[in-house]
């Protein structure tokens, strides 16, 4: 059995008077791709924030057996959205160079390697404010990778990107998982796409509704419990409506 990259024990998060996450317990194997799915307001992004250590929580979050606060540097994070200041004339390459920490700063070739890998070289001198949604997503991906993380956390990374961009994005995830042995944890709503790329799923609605292989998603009773109503995930559990 592979070691656990992430262990979550009795995790609860309360924001004000609201219990956002209620006693979660799960483990994530090293090298896996895990999709976190659930309705809006189910605590998916809050879970990522707790793992990073941005919000206070009860319970325990261990990353490779150590408390998350000690292991932040081995986490990479791609946010749901990134607001670019229109005032700022900063190029893609400058933006990424600012994100190199002392450990990686002398290794500029390290950054160049990731620029090539993410296919960014062609627009590395473009200003951030002039990037398309897909290009910006690649840049944020590259930023998450430049300091060699072991676990990549993605918060709805393909929201606002067209279908071609989404496809490319999931291919990048697959590539990083197979070639870099990265453990990937991603919040997403795209159940039909997830099934191709993820091998583990966490269904979340404040509590953990399911935790296991990705085909759990196609059990009607789980989806009904998760979303509170019947959900048809074509083409896996229902045929398309015939006219």
């Amino acid at each position: 059995m592979k070691p656990f990259a992430l262990e979550v024990k009795n995790l609860s998060v309360r924001l004000g008077n609201n219990l956002v996450l209620d006693n979660l317990n799960f483990e994530i194997e090293e090298g896996s791709i895990t999709a976190i799915i659930g309705p809006n307001g189910s605590g998916k992004s809050t879970l990522l924030k707790a793992i990073i250590g941005l919000i206070p929580f009860q319970g325990e979050i261990l990353i490779y057996g150590k408390p998350n606060f000690e292991q932040r540097k081995i986490l990479g994070y791609v946010p749901q959205s990134y607001e670019i200041d229109k005032f700022l004339p900063m190029t893609v390459k400058e933006f990424l160079e600012f994100n190199l920490t002392k450990e990686t700063f002398p290794k500029k070739e390290h950054l160049n390697h990731h620029l090539k890998e993410m296919d960014i070289v062609q627009f590395e001198n473009k200003q951030l404010k002039d990037l398309s949604g897909g290009q910006l997503q690649r840049v944020l991906f590259c930023r998450a990778l430049v300091n060699d993380p072991k676990i990549l956390l993605l918060d709805e990374p393909t929201s606002g990107i067209d279908l071609v961009g989404q496809r490319e994005f999931y291919e990048i995830i697959h590539f990083l998982n197979t070639h870099h042995r990265l453990t990937i944890l991603m919040v997403t709503h795209e159940i039909t796409i997830v099934h191709h790329f993820a091998n583990h799923v966490l269904c979340l609605n404040k509590k953990l509704i399911c935790n296991g292989p990705v085909n759990l998603l196609f059990k009607e009773e789980i989806l009904k419990e998760l979303y509170g109503r019947e959900i048809f995930v074509y083409p896996f559990n229902k045929p398309p409506i015939q006219k």
Binding site: F87, L88, P89, T91, E94, T101
Partner: protein, 266 residues
């Protein structure tokens, strides 16, 4: 003829040094959306300036102590309340401004210094103030150089900075302090009303002609110094108020570059 203006040499050097400092600090101010912060600190400092005036102490020195107190208070309240920073800055702004005005009212007779606090008067800059400005400008420059990359990282994306292991609260606090102190250093020159313009106009103008961040770091101080020199020439050439001349010229440069950029992109 030129020896008639020797008395302006020290103030001119002080303004030039401050302008260079502000043009760099201003980049961070815009990035972190802190222009109201410096405005708030400047207005709140009326209280510490009035106190200094009342107690016959050095205005700039007590102003710096006041700025450290106000910025610490804003930082603390930001983290202990659910109120937005701009609301808290507004609160500190009006509270201490009103206290300062009350304090000034205890002095009998006409108070020309009160007007100087608001619109500045370069001729009130003492030799002690001059060296104080040079000293604190140097300290702030060194802090900026030391933490330059970290400030950029923290202001671009707080979450990413936390992941990189930086204590973002500490760096935000350090920046609040140096910005507050820098704001006070220029108050005798431009007054509390116009000080923010020195911070934000050079980087805003420079952003129109910069293709990347390195160019912004070069053009912003260059424009800042150009604004100062031109403002001095305008002021003494046409007998106009100095601070208003500097700011009016800076704003003209901004609008000129803005329209130039607008037509160029069309």
């Amino acid at each position: 003829m030129i020896e008639n203006y020797y008395f302006l040499l020290k103030p001119f050097i002080a303004v030039l040094v401050l302008s260079f400092l502000y043009s760099i600090l201003g980049i961070f101010v815009i990035l972190k959306k802190l222009s109201f912060f410096s405005d708030g600190i400047a207005h709140a400092s009326i209280f510490s300036l009035a106190l200094a005036y009342f107690l016959n102490l050095d205005l700039v020195l007590l102003g710096i102590i006041g700025a450290i107190f106000f910025s610490s208070l804003i930082f603390f309240l930001e983290r202990k309340t659910k109120l937005h920073a701009d609301a808290l800055i507004g609160l500190i702004f009006v509270t201490f401004l009103s206290l300062g005005i009350i304090l000034m009212s205890f002095k009998r007779g006409y108070q020309p210094e009160l007007l100087n606090f608001f619109i500045g008067n370069i001729l009130t800059l003492s030799s002690f103030d001059f060296y104080l400005i040079l000293f604190f400008s140097l300290v702030i420059f060194l802090v900026l150089i030391k933490f330059f990359q970290i400030f950029i990282l923290v202001f671009l994306d707080r979450t990413e900075a936390i992941l990189r292991g930086f204590n973002v609260n500490l760096y935000e606090f350090i920046f609040y302090l140096i910005l507050a102190i820098a704001t006070i250093l220029g108050i005798k020159i431009t007054g509390v009303v116009l000080i923010t313009a020195l911070l934000i106009l050079p980087p805003m103008s420079a952003s129109f002609i910069s293709k990347n961040f390195k160019e912004l770091l070069v053009f912003s101080p260059l424009l800042g110094c150009l604004n100062i020199i031109s403002g001095f020439l305008l002021s003494f050439g046409f007998n106009l108020p100095l601070s208003a001349s500097i700011i009016a010229f800076s704003a003209s440069v901004f609008f000129l570059l803005f329209f130039f950029n607008l037509f160029k992109t069309k």
